[in-house]
């Protein structure tokens, strides 16, 4: 062996001596990525056409939402956004990268919510994302996020072509969470990780091991790496309260009651039942008018249903819809 060749143990010693290579600053990385990505998109015509389609969808969605809380983007962004703000409450800012000023979020951008801040965001693929207060999320791509601190809620949807989108990945210091068609929360709290599934399935991968949690369960990863799956309390909605507070708006104007009830069930986690099958059959033809913007989803039934000539009462997570009794109705 030539004298310049290394034995295995020498190589190991050298690598240990050198230590881990230093990483570039996150902010620089995000800025450079946004610029290079923009150039790449401009150079790649087919990809750019795909981007235009997404922009059209995003713009249409935002413009439909309307209202003072919502930010509409105009024209075509050169940065190739991977997401767009739908609703912003309190302090929400871009900590690094190039989150555009008109509501779009460029790849590599980091969004930070302050102590009283929350945000509802639509990802390019159509999934709905919400950020709780004191949260930091980096948008690595349209299907890849990194949670630095705080909590996010992802609704990857089931009615808007979920199967056509790649699975969304959320990186955290304690593992990677993959959406499998679902609604779930990922929360980093005091060094521990919690993945709480409201509907569907989510998978957590740590190293070469993975664990999957289904509806009504939670994956907990302690600071020492201990991982376990526990059931959620059956009637405890407290964990989802913040999700409702920053829910994206639902435009009821001209829509059928059935569409509203589908949205309500998805946002609240309730099961909607009809006392009278005839009301269920009529629901698509009952068209609504007005607006419920700015009202928490769980408080909208008391506004919407009476206007439709209906009443409802809730038992746990079941909302039962019925025709109100008239004086003289048989019991």
């Amino acid at each position: 062996m030539p004298d310049s060749e290394l034995r295995d143990e020498e190589m190991a010693a050298l690598l240990k001596l050198a230590g881990r290579r230093p990483e570039p600053p996150d902010a620089a990385r995000a800025r450079v990525r946004a610029a290079v990505h923009s150039d790449w998109r401009a150079a790649i015509a087919p990809a750019r056409r795909r981007n235009r389609r997404w922009l059209a969808v995003a713009a249409a969605f935002i413009l439909l939402a309307g209202g003072g809380l919502f930010l509409a983007r105009r024209g075509e962004a050169p940065q190739g956004p991977v997401a767009a703000f739908i609703r912003i409450d309190g302090e929400v800012r871009a900590a690094s990268g190039a989150a555009a000023p008109e509501g779009s979020i460029a790849p590599g951008a980091t969004v930070v919510t302050g102590p009283g801040g929350r945000a509802a965001i639509q990802l390019a693929g159509g999934a709905s994302l919400r950020l709780d207060a004191d949260t930091e999320v980096r948008f690595d791509g349209a299907d890849r996020l990194t949670l630095g601190r705080g909590a996010l809620y992802l609704d990857s949807g089931s009615e808007s072509g979920r199967a056509q989108r790649p699975a969304l990945e959320i990186g955290t210091p304690l593992g990677k969470v993959t959406d499998i068609g679902t609604q779930f929360e990922v929360r980093l709290d005091a060094g521990a990780l919690r993945v709480q599934v409201r509907r569907g399935l989510a998978r957590l991968t740590r190293g070469d091991r993975s664990v999957t949690a289904g509806s009504g369960s939670r994956i907990e990863v302690a600071t020492d790496g201990t991982t376990r799956v526990v059931p959620l309390a059956a009637d405890d909605d407290a964990d989802w309260d913040w999700v409702q507070q920053i829910a994206p708006p639902f435009d009821i104007e001209g829509r059928g009651l059935d569409r509203y009830l589908d949205w309500l069930a998805r946002e609240t986690g309730w099961r909607v039942e009809f006392a009278d099958p005839a009301v269920a059959a009529d629901a698509p033809g009952i068209l609504m008018h007005g607006s419920i913007a700015g009202i928490r989803p769980d408080r909208t039934p008391e506004i919407v249903l009476p206007a439709c000539g209906l009443a409802a009462h809730r038992e746990g997570r079941v909302l039962r819809i019925e025709r109100p009794r008239e004086p003289g109705d048989p019991r």
Binding site: P2, D3, S4, E5, L6, D8, E10, M11, A12, A13, L14, L15, K16, L17, A18, G19, R20, R21, P22, E23, P24, P25, A28, R29, R31, V32, R33, A35, V36, H37, D39, W40, A43, I44, A45, P46, A47, R48, R50, D140, G141, A142, R144, G207, D208
Partner: protein
């Protein structure tokens, strides 16, 4: 994972097809290494490094269709970046010749021979240790594909071959083979650096 240059060529092909995942792999794989490459040559000036690296990557993107795979992607990027560094330094009245090319330091071999004695805490030994550490990192950055990462995972993090395979989305057998090639490439890079040999992966 096959030949690294074939992989680079395939990656560029996917980028030209507009594949977002390919862009992410390109950026995540090349940016940190190119940043460190430039930072060393710009005297640790982070602002200048960011500017030069961004310009180099944008130039590379503009000429992506011209990448034929004659050299590794990182080598190609370094060539573009080196031009940007020279321009930057000329704007500031310094020529590229002024850049200390410490990768060719022939003392590395001697230092390695006395690696066992590097536990000392005197300033000279500490400086020598830092220089070797820096040069090892330069070698790791210059290795093709994910070789540098794989070696760090193996020897610094103590990851198993199975874990490395999972991270690289490879079979265990392919990961073992890749680690073998990574070790050989590191040895080659080290030998070339120790002798200041022409064509060394880490040379200017």
């Amino acid at each position: 994972m096959g030949d690294p240059i074939d992989d680079d060529r395939a990656l560029v092909g996917r980028m030209l097809d507009g594949d977002e995942a390919a862009f992410t792999r390109f950026f995540d794989g090349q940016f940190p290494r190119l940043y460190r490459f430039a930072l060393t040559r710009l005297d640790g000036d982070e602002a200048a490094t960011e500017e030069v690296v961004q310009a180099a990557l944008c130039r590379a993107i503009a000429g992506l269709a011209g990448y034929r795979g004659e050299a590794a992607l990182f080598t190609w990027l370094c060539t573009i970046c080196r031009r940007g560094i020279a321009e930057h330094r000329e704007r500031r009245g310094r020529r590229l010749d002024d850049v200390p090319l410490r990768e060719e330091n022939p003392e590395v071999r001697a230092a390695l021979d006395s690696l066992a004695a590097l536990g000392g805490s005197d300033p000279e030994t500490a400086a020598q240790r830092r220089e070797i550490a820096r040069q090892v990192q330069v070698i790791l950055d210059a290795l093709p594909g994910a070789y540098g990462d794989a070696l760090e995972w193996k020897y610094l993090e103590g990851r198993s071959v199975r874990e490395i395979a999972a991270r690289l989305d490879l079979s265990v057998k392919a990961a073992e083979s890749m680690l073998t090639r990574a070790r050989e490439a590191f040895r080659d890079g080290f030998a070339a650096m120790a002798h200041g040999a022409p064509g060394a992966a880490t040379r200017e």
